[in-house]
Every structure is written in structure tokens, then in C-alpha cells.
Symmetry: C2
Subunit: 301 residues, 2 copies
């Protein structure tokens, strides 16, 4: 299998970051990503790009990193390894829009390699509408299914279920949103050569702006009022709860002394908490809560 | 040693809750605590009292609970026990004020007992000023030291250090505020009979409103503007980060299927996040950051 070097993968990931930022800036029309370069004392670094106060985007981050060094204890333990160096590169995105009718979105692609030859790809994308719109959810999942199907027939169902399980808030008994796809520890095999696997992962990166610009263009002029903004602030609170309490990536980053500002770039600009808040029966908010469940076939919903 | 029954301890704790709510309502002048009674399917229940939109208090919760049943797996493992029933009762408080010059405060007292006879008290109180005021910090710690000293000469130093270590945000390299005291697994011994230990814990409960009403009265009319409110919202974000990422009590509650709304009653009404925000050199916000360190002797500061 023609494995591609980690340096080239990192380069390609950085190009994806660049492409995504350009596409989002163009669609937003006003906002500009500001770049924050940082170095990791133990090896490597990254470029965190943040857009604040755009026309459509309230706060969005697109982070690239390529780090290396001795493998953290936690990973070595999990893999029952004694000592190894690691290399990890990835692109992570979270976008919080101004208009509550535009969904929050998250995407991540990552590549991990160790000096003993072990490597894998991981990634995921999920959509968190403040108000679930069935047509939007269908569009989102159709795009993901088409992308998965182009590479491997079993991917969509498997990765969709994985996302339902991953983007779940146990203490609220709610999914974070309408899910998406999630995958981890993907290595090449006979059916899926390395280059094809990389192309699947890269393809998700290039699909991201297509999907999100669609929602930005379609929904950013939809009318909203005080009530919708209040609900948005509460849903942003749930987003904070998921990320800080349950998200494995965030937990790992904060536990292993990662770069806090890049990890917490996913936080919303503002979040509210109201004790024991339940939306009025029959309201759009109440309908949304009923749809924050695992196992919904959004393409047929 | 004349141990007092768990039912009587729970009764006394509930009286403390009542006393605190009355004192805070009186000092606030407008706000009223609303009571939410709840039952725990596996045994016991509680009364969560929440005050929203007062004159001085923006959002405050004073929760009492007394729960029992089979001991959760996590605790059994920690204590290397096979099976036992448990009983736990406690009062927990977090108050978020409107005026950024009034500090956020937290207090907790708790009693835990198992069917095998093991029992202990725990608790703590800590102050989180949005802007650290040395005089306020000194007053706070003097009150705590006087209370500790009345029971046991070694308590204050030990429990003050414990609070510095507990109320710490590793990923920010900041303490949550100016600390306070924290203690856990306190059982009676020859020097400290059960009734004296209970009185120390109860005394902290009765000291709470005295301390916080002092800050409410003294600071709620201090002037503030947009800048102070912005900083308050960012500090509330840090409060969220500590509680959701690091607070052992919150983690344990959410992990063991506790009552989410009572656990997250500690969340601020609103919190903001701004990427890589650093306050202007020499500003009050910047001075505050420099004081969010462990090991400061506030009484002499």
C-alpha cells in the first residue's frame, strides 16, 4: 500500500483549512478570519483562525494543527504501548451563527501516526440546529450519505450511528442536534487503499463549506425575534455542556495540557442558563426537543 | 461517641437551607426563592430553591437533598466495598449577582453515611470576585479563620490549602477566585466528638448568609459600566468551565444520573467567550488575573 507521508497529509489538511476559510468569508460577506499562529513547546504547532462578528457568523473557528513528540501517557496506556513518538494533524471547525434559524455546525478531520508504524484517520461532522427543520436535516444527511457511498457502501449507516452515539448529552437525554457522521481508527485495508482513505477524509473537508454555505445562504435572512434569540442562547448552553462534560476531544485536550484557546474556540459567544426551563407545548422549541433523539432516519423523515 | 441520627442531621440541614433563603431574600429586598420539590426514583429527594431576577441577585440557587439507596458503583470501588446502602444529605449554594462588583459565592455542606457504619462530613465555601478586592478577600478569610479556630487550631490552614487546590482551573492556570475552605471525609475522633464536628459544619451553614449579606449590602451600589459587565460575562464563562470540566461534585452527579437541573443550578444566567481575550495591562481585570493564584495569604495581603 502506497502510504503517503505525514508531512504531505499535514500540508493537504492546511490547504483544506485555507479553502474553508475563504469559502466562509465569501459567503459571510463581511467577516474575516484572523490567524493566530502558535507553537507547541514539545513539538509542532498550529494556526487557529477565528472570525468574530461577521454578517452571518457570530463566532467561528477553523483550526489547523500538526503536533509531534513523545506519545501522551493516556494514549500509550490505551494501546498497551511502552514508548513511542506520535504525530497528529487535523482540522477542527465550529461555527456559531447570528440568526437562530441558521444551524451551528462542527467538523473535524484528523490523522494520527506513531513511530512504531501504527496510524489512523478519524473525523466527523454534525449539525446542531437551534430549531430542527426536517428539510435541512434531510439535505445534510443526503450530502453525507452521497459522500460516504462514493467510497464504501457500509460507511454511512455505520458512521451515522456512531455520530448518534458520540454527539449525545447523557445528563439531558438529548442528542446535540441532528447528528451527522463520526469515525475513528480508520486504517487502509485491501478494499480501501491508503490514498482512497485519505481522499475520503479530505473529501469531507472540501464538502464542509459546500454544506454550510448552503445553510448560510438559505437561512440567514429568515425572520426571528426575542423568543428565538432566547432559545438560541439556551441551546448554546447545551452546546457548552456537551463540549465541556462529554466531548472526548475536548476532555483529552484539556487533560493533556493542550492549547486551551484553540480547544475552547468551540465555545459560543454567549450562552444562557435558566433553571428548569421547558418550552411551551406545541412551540417550535418543544418540537425541536422531541427530535433530539438517536436513531432517526433523517433522509426519510 | 454520641452519634446523631442521619434523619436529624438532614432535618437540621433543611433548617439551614430555610434560614439562608430567608436571609438572602431579606437582603435582596425583591427576589423570592421558588421551591421545586423532587423525588429520587431510587430513594429520597430534595427541595431546590431558586431565585431569579432579584434586585441584587441575578440567579441564585440553594439546594437541599437527602437521598438514599444502594451505593453507586463508583463509590463502592473507591472504598473497596462490595455492597452497601448509602445515605447522603447536603445543602449547596451558588449565587450570581447582578452587579459585577459583588462576588459570586459558593457553599456546600454534606453528610454521607453507609450501612456498614462508615460516615463522614464534607463541605466548603469559596468566593469568586469578578474583580478581586483585597479588603473583601481579607474579610472573607478572617471570617472563615475565626470559625475554624473556634473548633480546631489546625483547620483553617489545612482547609484553606485544600480549597486552593480544589477550586483551581488547570487549563487556565488560574484559581476560580480567592479560595476559601474545603474539607472532606471528616469523622469524629477523640479531640473532635461527633456533636462538635456537626456543629462546625452547621456553623459554616449559618455563617454563610452573614458573609454574603455583608458583600451584598456593601457592594451592590458600587458603580459599573459596559466594560465591567463584559468582564463579568467572561468570568462567568470561567465559572462554567470549572464546574463542567473540573468540579468533582458536578462530574459525579452527572455521571451517576443525578438530578441535572439541581446539579446545574450553579450555572450563571449568562456567560460569554471571546477567543484569546487578554485584559489591558494595568486594568482592574488584569490586576485580578494576577491574583488568581494558589497560596496567597489573604488575611495579610
Amino acid at each position: 500500500m502506497e502510504k503517503i507521508s505525514k508531512e504531505i497529509i499535514a500540508e493537504r489538511f492546511q490547504k483544506i483549512q485555507q479553502h474553508i476559510c475563504e469559502a466562509l468569508e465569501k459567503e459571510d460577506g463581511i467577516g474575516e478570519f484572523k490567524t493566530d499562529l502558535w507553537e507547541r513547546p514539545q513539538g509542532g504547532g498550529g494556526a487557529t483562525k477565528v472570525l468574530a462578528d461577521g454578517k452571518i457568523i457570530a463566532k467561528g473557528g477553523v483550526a489547523f494543527s500538526a503536533v509531534h513528540g513523545p506519545t501522551p501517557e493516556k494514549i500509550l496506556k490505551k494501546l498497551s504501548l511502552e514508548e513511542a513518538d506520535f504525530f497528529a494533524t487535523g482540522v477542527s471547525i465550529v461555527i456559531h451563527p447570528i440568526n437562530p434559524m441558521v444551524p451551528i455546525i462542527h467538523m473535524n478531520i484528523r490523522y494520527f501516526e506513531m513511530s512504531n508504524g501504527t496510524y489512523w484517520f478519524g473525523g466527523g461532522i454534525d449539525l446542531t440546529p437551534h430549531f430542527v427543520d426536517l428539510e435541512d436535516a434531510r439535505y445534510f444527511h443526503k450530502q453525507l450519505k452521497a459522500h460516504c457511498d462514493a467510497y464504501e457502501a457500509s460507511y454511512y449507516d455505520k458512521f451515522k450511528q456512531w455520530a448518534d452515539d458520540y454527539f449525545y448529552i447523557p445528563h439531558r437525554k438529548e442528542t446535540r442536534g441532528v447528528g451527522g457522521i463520526f469515525f475513528d481508527r480508520l486504517s487502509a485495508n485491501e478494499k480501501m487503499p491508503f490514498s482512497k482513505l485519505l481522499s475520503f477524509v479530505e473529501g469531507l473537508g472540501y464538502l464542509f463549506p459546500k454544506i454550510y454555505c448552503h445553510f448560510m445562504a438559505k437561512n440567514h435572512k429568515l425572520p426571528f425575534g426575542e423568543q428565538e434569540l432566547k432559545w438560541q442562547a439556551l441551546r448554546r448552553g447545551r452546546y457548552v455542556e456537551f463540549n465541556l462534560v462529554w466531548d472526548a476531544g475536548t476532555k483529552f485536550g484539556l487533560d493533556t495540557n493542550g492549547r486551551t484557546e484553540s480547544i475552547l474556540m468551540s465555545m459560543p459567544p454567549e450562552a444562557n442558563w435558566v433553571y428548569n426551563q421547558t418550552p411551551e407545548a406545541g412551540s417550535d422549541a418543544s418540537k425541536t426537543l422531541k427530535l433530539l433523539k438517536k436513531g432517526i432516519n433523517w433522509i426519510k423523515a
